[in-house]
Amino acid sequence: MQFIKPDINIDFVGKRIIAFSVSLSMILISIASLVIHKGPKYGIDFAGGTLIQVKFDKPVSVNQIKSGLSVMNLGKSSVQRFGEKSDDEYLIHIDRSGVTSEGYSAKLQTALKTSTGVNATVRRVEIVGPKVGKDLRGKALFAMFYALLFIAIYISGRFEFKWVLSGVMAGVLMGAVYLLSIFDVSVPILIVAALVVTLVLFWVMDLKYAMGAIVALIHDVTITVGLFSIFNKEFTLPVIAALLTIIGYSLNDTIIVFDRIRENLRKYQKNPLEIIINRSVNETLSRTLLTSGTTLVVVLSLFVLGGGIIHDFAFAMLVGIVVGTYSSIYVASPILLAWQARGKK
């Protein structure tokens, strides 16, 4: 059985202007959404606060729960449904942390039982103090930063087979980061700075494959983060884990395509780059779609059946895989072409 015939020849490269505009507008929308929402919406892992998961024996209304909460005098809180409708499960979000040790869940259980008239069970309580929230935020950002750093170093060595250059790269990057850390800049700025340094270095050292790969990577992560912002979803530790996995995984397809381009460049030296790239993308199309497809299937099953706790993680992975597959076809390879155009001028 075969979905995609070996002699397939879709003009991907020809459509690159359309693809670029689509990507660019997606990225702009993502950034706009982040600006409008004043940065990413942090979950309690990062912002601190209290999260309580309550299961009721029978259906209740959100207002009933809220009136029960107001009796407890907990400060600013929000209630949202959790998981399937038939579960009668709710997440209560309280901005304040540190209401602990007062036998809090027992009291809450009683208060909710009185206000709703239905038996309530507290199934999960997470209380994160502001200090831990800040710690975790720092750790998550550093994780993102180091993942990007190591991968940038790896691909600059791997794609170009210039490990000396990649060593130089690593040195310059580390130096830049060290310099910045002396001035005590915040981690997001550090990440942006490291990315800019990386891009400039790739440009200066003429590492076009690495450039394509890293641009595709930034593209994927930005759009995933943007979608989270647009849907007003919260950033939690599992979502960060998903983002890191996407950073690793989205390169997967890009590597496959790039390896083929290099192979074809040797094989058909006379053909123009545009044809070779399009041919390579077509030749690997079946693999690209199948590998992404199988991963998508399992992540989809996790998204549908995995339950509320893992839901956002699965969502981030879904978006990341789809966008990552798209970018390896429409973003990474055309950048090689753009690069060549630069060289001719």
């Binding site: 999960r124 103090g129 399992v298």
Partner: protein, 525 residues
């Protein structure tokens, strides 16, 4: 033996070892090795992050020096204007007259050499001296306080009875506590967080309590409260006490604390035994203060203040205070394990009920099975015979991850299950890459054997690359992640390594076996 047989034998060995590691998880009686650990999010339990308020330990030390200095000054008959602890960890003394100043300097050199002089000002014949502890000493006190707090909490939890608790230091002064399967979280937090500083102080009966309550607290005295809860209305009643600040005796000299039942009121109380020094001190204190009231203070709360009827010998005392049996039991545990050297603050608390854990396992396994079956079916339909080989590799892949979890004694969490699910998708990636390449090679007219050789050779580098980048992400995550996320990093890393093994080595052997040994001429792919 041929090269192929050796390779097959190696793979067989790996499979056998994997089975040995996984067996105990399936049937514990089969094999004495340990089972796969489940994380708190899967088995239910409580995760706590505490911070030891080490500054309080430093302040305590300064306060002790303050008291010592006071009594030394009195012994040497030095007259001073004031001696106070300011800003938490500084001592300020004011002395008048050259004679007093000289005598104090001598005392400072003799008995308080560890103090650092911050500033020395003389105005007229009045000397003001600021002192504190050197940084090195402060750091040592802080470190000691953290270590001691860790040890004390460990003792308390051991006595409380939690199976397989995990208590460890994180950073400089944070303590991480994992209590799997614990149900009464309120009680556990109360027990762990209790400072349990037991102090005996005299009631100040020479001054008026009412005047003190209005703000006129005599120097050297303080107001502390006794708290009582009405058992029927749950209302709290506070009773103020005017106590002498000086602590006569602390719980540091305890040897034992037990719950006993008062035969008269049928109420539990905690009886305490002092060690030799404590017993002697207690005998002396009670002997010197007959007919006075001695307050028993625990964590700055007055539990009782009985009148000393006579000198008490034998080193025994009792703490009463209308306890429930559980409260009395936990207090006894806390006293036995010793006081915390400094108070602890709860920074983070995560509790998962056991039913939610079971739910998570069920849902996680469900999505794993459904996703797995879909992928397995797809591979067979799309690649036929070769798909079967890939499916076999997939099963083995999961077995290897499980063996890795058991072998490294890693913890399986809900994100960890997600990691395994993700691996199922990625493991077939490897096979898809290779199979597609083989198809391409056959398409240009190569024989099955040549196509398989070329397919594996050419795809290997790509496969390695694709997995290395995921592995980089997983390792970074392992380094920075906490709790459940670490579980994800572990299964993802194990999955990547396992899929490299099954995809590049295992399936190759099976292909080679068919093509070389069985001389199969056509390839079902």
């Amino acid at each position: 033996m041929t090269n192929l047989s050796w390779r097959a034998l190696g793979v067989f060995g790996v499979i056998v070892v994997a089975i040995i590691y996984v067996l105990p998880t399936i049937k514990p009686s089969f094999w004495p090795h340990k089972k796969i650990n489940l994380g708190l999010d899967l088995q239910g339990g409580m995760h706590l992050t505490l911070e030891v308020d080490t500054e309080k330990a430093v302040e305590g030390t300064i306060e002790r020096i303050n008291q010592e200095m006071r009594s030394s000054i009195k012994e040497e008959h030095i007259r001073f204007i004031s001696l106070n602890r300011v800003q938490g960890n500084q001592l300020v003394i004011k002395l008048k007259g050259q004679k007093n100043i000289d005598a104090f300097d001598k005392l400072l050199d003799k008995d308080f050499r560890n103090l650092r002089i911050l500033s020395r000002n003389t105005e007229g014949d009045v000397l003001t001296l600021h002192m504190d502890l050197p940084v090195k000493e402060t750091e040592q006190i802080e470190k000691l306080a953290t270590d001691q707090a860790l040890e004390t909490i460990r003792n308390r939890i051991d006595q409380f009875g939690v199976s397989e608790p995990d208590i460890r230091l994180q950073g400089e002064k944070q303590i991480l506590i994992q209590l799997p399967g614990i149900k009464d979280t309120k009680r556990a937090i109360a027990l762990i967080g209790k400072t349990a500083l037991l102090e005996f102080k005299l009631v100040d009966e020479t001054h008026d309590l009412d005047a003190a309550l209005k703000g006129n607290i005599p120097p050297g005295s303080e107001i502390l409260y006794g708290v009582k809860e009405d058992p029927t209305t749950h209302r709290m009643y506070k009773t103020p006490y005017l106590l002498k600040k000086r602590t006569l005796l602390t719980g540091a000299h305890l040897t034992d604390a037990r719950v006993q039942i008062d035969s008269q009121y049928n109420e539990p109380y905690v009886s305490i035994d002092f060690d030799k020094k404590g017993g002697r001190d207690f005998e002396r204190i009670t002997g010197e203060n007959v007919k006075k009231r001695l307050a028993i203070v625990l964590d700055n709360k007055v539990y009782s203040a009985p009148v000393i009827q006579e000198k008490i010998a034998g080193g025994k005392a009792r703490i009463t205070g209308h306890f429930t049996t559980e409260e009395a039991r936990d207090l006894a545990i806390a006293l036995r394990a010793g006081a915390l050297p400094a108070p602890v603050n709860i920074l983070e608390e995560r509790t998962v009920g056991p039913s939610l854990g079971t739910d998570s396992i069920r849902k996680g396994l469900m999505s794993m099975i459904v996703g797995g079956i879909l992928v397995v079916l797809f591979m067979v339909v799309y690649y036929k015979g070769s798909g079967l080989i890939a499916d076999f590799a997939l099963m083995l892949n999961i077995l290897l991850i499980a063996a890795g979890l058991a072998g490294f004694q890693a913890t399986l969490t809900l994100p960890g299950i997600a990691g395994i699910i993700l691996t199922i998708g990625m493991a077939v990636d490897t096979n898809v890459l290779i199979f597609e390449r083989i198809r391409e090679e056959m398409h240009i007219g190569k024989t099955p054997r040549a196509a398989v050789d070329a397919g594996y050779d050419r795809a290997t580098l790509t496969v390695l690359d694709a997995n290395v980048t995921t592995l980089i992400a997983a390792l970074v995550l392992f380094q920075f992640g906490t709790g459940p996320i670490k579980g994800f990093a572990v299964t993802l890393s194990l999955g990547v390594i396992a899929s490299l093994f099954t995809g590049l080595i295992l399936t190759r052997i099976i292909f080679d076996y068919y093509l070389i040994k069985r001389k199969v001429k056509s390839l079902s792919i």
